[in-house]
């Protein structure tokens, strides 16, 4: 064989023809079958055909290899142009027109019709075949399928559809219609015949806007038409003009239009077959079509299509299972047995390409890869949630994501958004994007942000102490931390519930990272997130990162008072969810306890108080004025109540508290304190408070306290509690002042946040300690009760 030099068009054309004839993909064509049909279609005398075959060496080899086939085609062209068949003419003849093959049962002038009608043997199959693909493939311009079918039938019947055949029109249309047919199961042999004629048309007229050819949608040429002009892109004007021209021609235009996209794609693919990126790019229309198809299966664009549904869907394409399996392997990027939107589009695209005759790649082209970059950016989804990790997550990336897929990115603004959401969903993490967005939406005035400003009542000794001090008007130890805290409560009255948790969480977050306060404050959504997250922290609040050093412990002298303060504060904080303050529910029946009782009871109430106060203050600092007031009362209480010697003070303080304290609990507390029986209440309250009951209930039981408890016993514990309560009180006291300053100064807010968090941790610690004490006290109580029971029978004896 001499070397054969083919022009580009020839190359393409011949390649198409070869593919068409190569039904078994064996890269060699038997001398019979399609090749024979082809040569017959060349309308050359048989002897010429034989001569050609001999020349190209097919007779020698017994089959047509690719080179032989090309040579044969070239010789056909030579023969058709009337030149003598000579081997040397292969390369010497320049500007040889491409061989023309007329395959028509009826002697048709128009090649197109001939081509199309030649497949009359397959019309039925096509007709059967055509409808499904249209269903599958969105018809951009309407019921192409019908047209196609009609066209086909008409073409078959007429064999000519004269208008259709006009050579001028055929080329553009043929590709289109051919494309349409391509959508039919290209794998099927039925398609093959069409493929052959398809490409034939392309070389004929470069830019003929004929649509007549469309009459033969049968031609599902698997090879894209060599014509680039017509196919360049769906959006290109020439094709569109061609389309427009075709439109009036026949309904088939629709079919062609429909297939234009695919044709364009395949054309592009072919043109750029060297680089996979471009050929495999999905155009806008295609993408839209794929998305719509996706929606028919899975309405949620962010969801998955299960494998079984996808299998059914793609089986309709009538590709062989083996190829579908391979397509699946390529497109199911994360190997999860389900297709995300990206994967689905890639698979669909591969199916389309395959049906158009393109071989499946060995690995997924870049342009078809799901956007993974977004995963990294968004740090989200587990997508799909963080499930598979970034590399495998099919989560779509935000528009910025994949540079390799600019077309996709550009064309799917909505898709990208959805993908963002989807990605978020799949990644299972509020994407950093959203977080950052929120950061930008800093709305300090947002009430939600107020939540961010935790108003934890710091249970720092200093605070408690300060509160005590306030109560006592002994001085103003109210350090800055407390004042801001005090300021805060009033500002967050309505956010008790939220704030309680938020404060706690915010406190945690603050301790975790002060820097986070900004974002924290500015992002309401984050708040939600952080709140939720922080709630988890709540359990480990004291363990948060490097909490600030707790304020100095209050003076020992105020220890008891502080504890009482705590009690008061707890009782004061009404309606706050978790605050154990509620503790003073009527559950504490005043029980005449033996002398021994007082000790433990003393402990208990103290513990309870401390606990209550602690719980009330630590979790939610609903630093409201009432709290503040309560705390002040509490402080007074604590200061006075613990020590009998201070009872007078207590009473005075209680009065003060009464004045200051609006809540009933406070008043009751005062009363109780005054009686010095708060301790009794405390134990009862403590257990209940543990459940974080309603604070208001606490006060009533308090008055019932007995003074049985020795003050001595009370004192030590009170001291402990006082310290804690003092801290709490201080914190609480400081809260009211916070809002005023904070509201104006963001820094102050942040500072207060930090302080609150510190307080939070301190209070949390205090809480734990008190809990421990509570447990001890309860144990004592139990033992005492047991003893009592033991004694009773004796007494009854």
């Amino acid at each position: 064989m001499e070397g054969l030099t083919l022009s580009e068009a020839e190359q393409r054309y011949y390649c198409d023809l070869f593919s068409y004839c190569d039904t078994e993909s064996t890269k060699k064509v038997a001398s019979n079958g399609r090749v024979l049909e082809l040569f017959r279609a060349a309308q050359l005398p048989n002897d010429v055909v034989m001569q050609i075959m001999e020349l190209c060496g097919a007779t020698r080899l017994g089959y047509f290899g690719r080179s032989q086939f090309y040579i044969a085609l070239k010789l056909v062209a030579v023969a058709q142009s009337g030149l003598p068949l000579r081997v040397e003419s292969l390369n010497t003849v320049k500007d040889l027109p491409l061989p023309r093959f007329v395959m028509s049962k009826n002697e048709q002038e128009s090649r197109h019709t001939a081509l199309y009608s030649s497949d009359a043997d397959n019309p039925a199959s096509y007709s059967g075949v055509i409808p499904p693909p249209p269903g599958r493939i969105q018809v951009k311009k309407g019921s192409v399928s019908h047209d196609a079918v009609q066209q086909r039938t008409s073409a078959d019947q007429q064999e000519s559809t004269s208008p259709v055949v006009s050579p001028q029109q055929s080329p553009p249309t043929s590709p289109h219609t051919w494309r349409k047919h391509n959508r039919h199961p290209s794998g099927g042999n039925n398609e093959r015949p069409l493929a052959g004629p398809g490409p034939f048309w392309a070389p004929f007229s470069e830019a003929q806007p004929g649509s007549s050819a469309s009459s033969d949608p049968i031609w599902s040429g698997h090879s894209p038409p060599p014509h680039q002009e017509n196919w360049v892109s769906f959006a290109d004007t020439p094709p569109t003009s061609a389309l427009l021209a075709m439109h009036p021609a026949s309904v088939q235009d629709q079919t062609t239009v429909r297939t234009v996209a695919s044709a364009a794609t395949t054309n592009e693919i072919r043109r750029q077959s060297s680089s996979y990126d471009d050929p495999w790019k999905i155009t806008d229309e295609q993408r839209q079509y794929y998305v719509n198809q996706f929606k028919t299966i899975q309405p949620d664009l962010n969801g998955f299509i299960p494998g079984s549904a996808a299998k059914e869907f793609f089986t309709k394409s009538k590709l062989p299972i083996l190829e579908l399996s391979h397509i699946w392997e390529l497109s199911d990027f994360d190997k999860d047995g389900a297709l995300t939107l990206d994967e689905f589009c890639a698979a669909f695209h591969l199916v389309v390409a395959r049906k158009n005759g393109y071989d499946l790649p060995e690995k997924l082209p870049e342009s078809l890869m799901p956007k993974l970059i977004d995963l990294e950016d968004s740090t989200e989804v587990g997508e799909q949630t963080g499930e598979v990790g970034y590399s495998s997550s099919p989560a779509e990336a935000p528009p910025s994501k994949s540079p390799s897929m600019p077309s996709l990115n550009q064309t799917w603004p909505e898709l990208n958004q959805s993908s963002e959401q989807w990605e978020t969903f799949s990644e299972r993490s509020s994407s950093s994007q959203t977080l950052t967005q929120f950061d930008s939406n800093i709305a300090p005035a947002d009430p939600d942000t107020a939540i961010v400003h935790p108003v934890p009542i710091r249970m720092t000794p200093s605070k408690i102490h300060m509160q005590e001090m306030e109560l006592k008007r002994t001085g103003s130890d109210h350090a800055n931390p407390t004042s801001p805290l005090l300021v805060k409560p009033p500002d967050l009255p309505e956010e008790n519930k939220m704030s309680s948790s938020v404060k706690f969480t915010s406190g945690n977050t603050v301790t975790d990272g002060y820097s986070s306060s900004d974002s924290y404050a500015s992002d309401p959504e984050q708040i939600g997130n952080t709140v939720t997250r922080q709630r988890s922290h709540s359990g480990t609040s004291p363990d948060n990162t490097a909490p600030p050093p707790p304020p100095p412990r209050p003076h020992p002298s105020h220890s008891r008072s502080s504890s009482l303060d705590m009690n008061r504060s707890f009782s004061v904080t009404p309606g706050q969810q978790q605050t154990g303050v509620v503790a003073y529910p009527p559950a504490v029946p005043p029980r005449p306890q033996p002398s021994q009782g007082p000790g433990p009871h003393v402990h208990r109430p103290v513990d309870a108080e401390g606990l209550i106060a602690h719980t009330s203050t630590s979790p939610q600092q609903i630093p409201e004025q009432p709290n503040f007031a309560d705390f002040s009362q509490f402080e007074a209480f604590a200061v006075s109540g613990v020590n009998k010697e201070e009872e007078d003070e207590i009473e005075t303080h209680s009065e003060v508290l009464q004045v200051e304290k609006p809540s009933d609990s406070a008043s009751s507390l005062r009363v109780a304190k005054a009686d010095g029986r708060v301790e009794d209440k405390a134990p009862a309250n403590v257990p209940t408070s543990a459940g974080k009951g309603t604070t208001p209930l606490a006060p009533p039981p308090k008055p019932i306290r007995r003074r049985l408890k020795s003050e001595d016993e009370l004192r030590p514990e009170a001291e402990e509690h006082a310290q804690k309560t003092g801290v709490i009180a201080a914190v609480l006291a400081s809260q009211p002042s916070i809002p005023r300053s904070v509201g104006k100064d963001k820094k102050a807010i942040q500072a207060s946040i930090r302080r609150n968090k510190e307080t939070n941790t301190v209070l949390a610690r205090l809480n734990s300690e008190l809990q421990q004490q509570l447990k001890d006290v309860l144990e004592e109580r139990i033992s005492l009760e047991v003893q009592l029971e033991q004694l009773r029978p004796f007494s009854h004896l």
Binding site: L324, H326, W328, E329
Partner: protein, 139 residues
């Protein structure tokens, strides 16, 4: 590098078998077939415990003069048999394990493909590529 890799279904028919196309491949087929008995023996031996406790990697099934045969069973009784050239002394147990792990992962990926019916022969290109990478490179 393996000389022959085979995937046997639960019913002991081959789903996939590929050998280095040097010598008589039939010999490897026979080897794999005979190794199934050893696999069953090992499975039943470990079967006293629950299946969960059974380790997937079976280890060396039996050595012959020219090569060694390793086995691996999944929880669904799909067996992977690998024939390794004895002269290849560099292969350690860990490497064999990792090769089996790769096989298992690829097999799982095939299973995820809805177009694959369990029990069919494995025709996946990806699987082929993976196996090829593990096979000995014969000039």
């Amino acid at each position: 590098m393996a000389v022959c890799i085979a995937v046997i279904a639960k019913e002991n028919y081959p789903l996939y078998i590929r050998s280095v196309p040097t010598e008589n491949e039939l010999k490897f087929h026979y080897t794999v077939h005979t190794s199934l008995d050893v696999v069953d023996e090992k499975i039943s031996a470990m079967g006293k415990a629950l299946v969960d406790q059974r380790e997937l990697y079976l280890g060396l099934l039996y050595p012959t003069e020219d090569y060694k045969v390793y086995g691996y069973v999944t929880n669904s009784k799909v067996k992977f048999v690998m024939v390794v050239d004895s002269s290849n002394t560099a292969l350690r147990d860990n490497e064999i394990r990792s090769m089996f792990r790769k096989l298992h992962n690829s097999y799982t990926d095939i299973m995820c493909n809805p177009f694959y019916n369990p029990g069919d022969r494995i025709n996946s290109r990806a699987f082929d590529n993976m196996v090829n990478s593990m096979m000995m490179q014969v000039c």
